[in-house]
Symmetry: C2
């Protein structure tokens, strides 16, 4: 059992120092509430809608930004998942990093970029299965649009994760409401895994965000649900053992004898 | 554009003649309401919970039962999808047949059997893509548990269907409510296809059914929704052209560049 914290956040567009400070503040608050892991939104460190400047703010995974996150994690005792622009040679990836103190960071690169805006900024990564175990809970990461493809969540579930952790930047509107109200819970239920889907709120110069962050349990129920507006730090216990009955009744992974 | 009818039905357990008469009556009513296609539940002709007798009632796809359905279709001018136990050599499949007058019937065999009850009665079929075009609308079939696997709906969507038609026998309870309230709409939205999910109501000697049949549009909205109790004939227009904007904004099928 772990206690999970998730920050529905209003990033400052293009201001990495301000966003890092906001994440540090949330990590301290999460620590005070007994959480050991904090999730924050997609590109939360640069702002999602900052445009071309995001490429200028890109850093390698072993650069000073990730080292600073590691230091915050070490100081607070809270592991952190944060979205950043990752420089790798000539490529810039839309990435999320898991840091847990001074341990080796785990970096996941978004495989399904959405729309012309993202495709102009980022290189598409191959789908990947980047796993880590946090205090006994086996976790995988996806970013935003990735989770809308059932194939990506299934890949992680078949790798036996307990939880799929998803920084996102979901715009407000009909599709955003649908995804928050139906799809995230379905991804959890059809794989019998936790899904934490953590969004921005408010607006930047390009996008208005849906808020409505969700933490769904393996039985599809909601453990936490953020409002459509406003920053929120959600803190919930997350215990895979609580859902053994649901897993024994909803045997999707063992009944998936044929793959399409 | 077609007009689709769907009968949420209380089958008489083991009484094929009574169930055939019920379907004939619904086909006449559907015709009177301008529908050209009627969908009925999984194993609606035998009853879902009739047990071992279902194997005794099994018929080949070219047997008298399917010929009788063809005759009803020819008389009423309404194509019919009906669930029956299909005898094929030593095997019995949990099947659904599409009949449209005297045209060659299309038979789909369930590939994902649920639980010990079904596995004791039926042979598991390989996943298959049985397509037909009804008045210009390209359709595929699944049966009940099949649709809970995103892989099966994706396979049909990648075969370019407009609509996935799903006779089901969903029991009442927490999972049934979840599937009716979240999963069916998600299957529609994530593939941008219509999903018609047509259930039994009431109870037989083994099961109490959830009712709650659903017809979802490609944008995930509900075109029709049956109550949890009682027989209902739903009649709705189904027009793929109405959802071109949704398809152009939710480009899952074209963005699925990588398959997990």
């Amino acid at each position: 059992m772990i206690t999970l914290a998730a920050l529905q956040m209003k990033s400052e567009s293009g201001d990495v120092a301000a966003n890092l400070a906001r994440i540090e503040q949330a990590a301290k608050e999460a620590a005070g509430k007994g959480a050991s892991l904090l999730i924050t939104p997609e590109l939360g460190l640069t702002g999602y809608g900052a445009g071309d400047i995001i490429r200028d703010l890109a850093e390698p995974a072993d650069g000073p930004l990730v080292r600073r996150l590691q230091a915050i994690s070490a100081e607070t005792g809270v592991a952190i998942i944060a979205g950043f622009a990752e420089k790798a040679g000539a490529d810039t990836f839309n990435s999320a990093v898991y840091v847990d103190g001074t341990a080796e960071p785990v970096v996941y690169r978004k495989s399904h970029l959405y729309g012309d805006y993202e495709r102009a900024l980022f290189t598409t990564a191959e789908p990947s299965t980047m796993l880590f175990t946090h205090r006994g809970v086996k976790c995988g990461m996806l970013i935003c649009y990735d989770v809308e493809f059932p194939e990506n969540v299934r890949r992680l579930a078949l790798a036996d994760v307990d939880a799929v952790l998803v920084p996102t930047a979901l715009p407000a509107g009909y599709s955003g409401t649908f995804i928050a109200d139906h799809m995230i819970q379905t991804r959890a239920f059809e794989n019998q895994v936790f899904v934490a889907y953590i969004n921005h709120c408010g607006a930047d110069e390009r996008f208005t965000f849906a808020g409505s962050s969700r933490i769904a349990a393996p039985d599809g129920s909601l453990l936490a649900s953020a409002p459509s507006h406003g920053e929120t730090l959600m803190v919930v216990p997350l215990n895979p053992a609580d859902f053994q009955v649901s897993k024994s009744e909803n045997t999707y992974l063992t009944d998936l004898t044929h793959r399409a």
